[in-house]
Symmetry: C2
Subunit: 171 residues, 2 copies
């Protein structure tokens, strides 16, 4: 590790994973149950996220809904990846804000029109940066972020998902 | 609307969207900013979700991290879709719990190995149901859920994403 890596926490992290690539493999898990109506309490390690649906969709609006949780993951992942990759590339960044917006047609969710997908048709991100660097450096940063942001990859590209169903025990 | 639809809030909702399909089009949006280090506060309408990273990734672990937020959206969307589609199909369902687990290799996020994707390699769902119906009915329900769950579609299939960058104003 060079002296400048030692002074840069992100480069320090990267040096550690480069030396022990097996340590970069991680598994995340959450669990949830409907507690009343459509209100779900989700546990992620010691953290709890309350998810519900707006009244127009049959919930009591006690929390963001599931697709808003995905957008929260996407927007925050973008912001964090800007911060981490700015440090990695040595680009000064004073502030990053991210807005994420997505369209959905509920005819898909409710099975009313089979030609309509259940999820988002379209996602739009607006990222605003503040800092002293040239526009070219910030465009370089944005390209690096879009190539390395985990949630952007999860949303934009296919992910293999398998599901196991545990049926009620026979009585 | 038949009398049984009037007594079933989900079928009632569906009848409404079938009569006015344009009302099924919705846009969701969130906004976020890093407030300190990697801690992001995300606003979704009147709701706030705090996102952070564990210490091992350079955060202060004051909230779930972005990929856990995606899993929270996925697990809660599955649970809610089971509840909604059980009502739609007239299948009695007393309880649903969902666990979601996903693997990620951070060599992708940190750009250490270009052959490693940034997002999840694999997502596993375990859904446990309780209720008085036959196993066949619950398998029918699970198939309907997997065909109509918005976040499952978002994670499993590609979604078009566009990004606009607002650079610092020239000084």
């Amino acid at each position: 590790m060079s002296e400048s890596d030692a002074e840069n926490p992100v480069r320090n992290l990267i040096s550690g994973f480069r030396a022990n690539p097996g340590k970069a493999k991680a598994t995340f898990s959450v669990g949830t149950e409907l507690v009343e109506g459509l209100r779900a309490e989700v546990n992620a390690r010691q953290h709890t996220i309350v998810i519900d649906e707006p009244a127009v969709l049959g919930g009591t609006d006690s929390g963001a809904n599931p697709v808003e949780a995905v957008l929260a993951g996407l927007a925050s992942c973008q912001a964090i990846t800007y911060q981490v990759w700015a440090a990695n590339l040595g680009i000064a960044l004073d502030r990053v804000t991210v807005e994420a917006e997505a369209d959905i047609d509920l005819l898909g969710f409710f099975g009313i029109d089979r030609s309509v997908r259940a999820g988002f048709n379209d996602v739009r991100l607006q990222v605003a940066l503040d800092g002293p660097e040239s526009p070219e450096r910030y465009r370089e940063l944005a390209d690096a972020v879009d190539a390395h942001c985990p949630v952007l990859d999860i949303v934009a590209n296919p992910v293999p998902v398998t599901r196991v169903l545990v049926e009620p025990a026979a009585v």
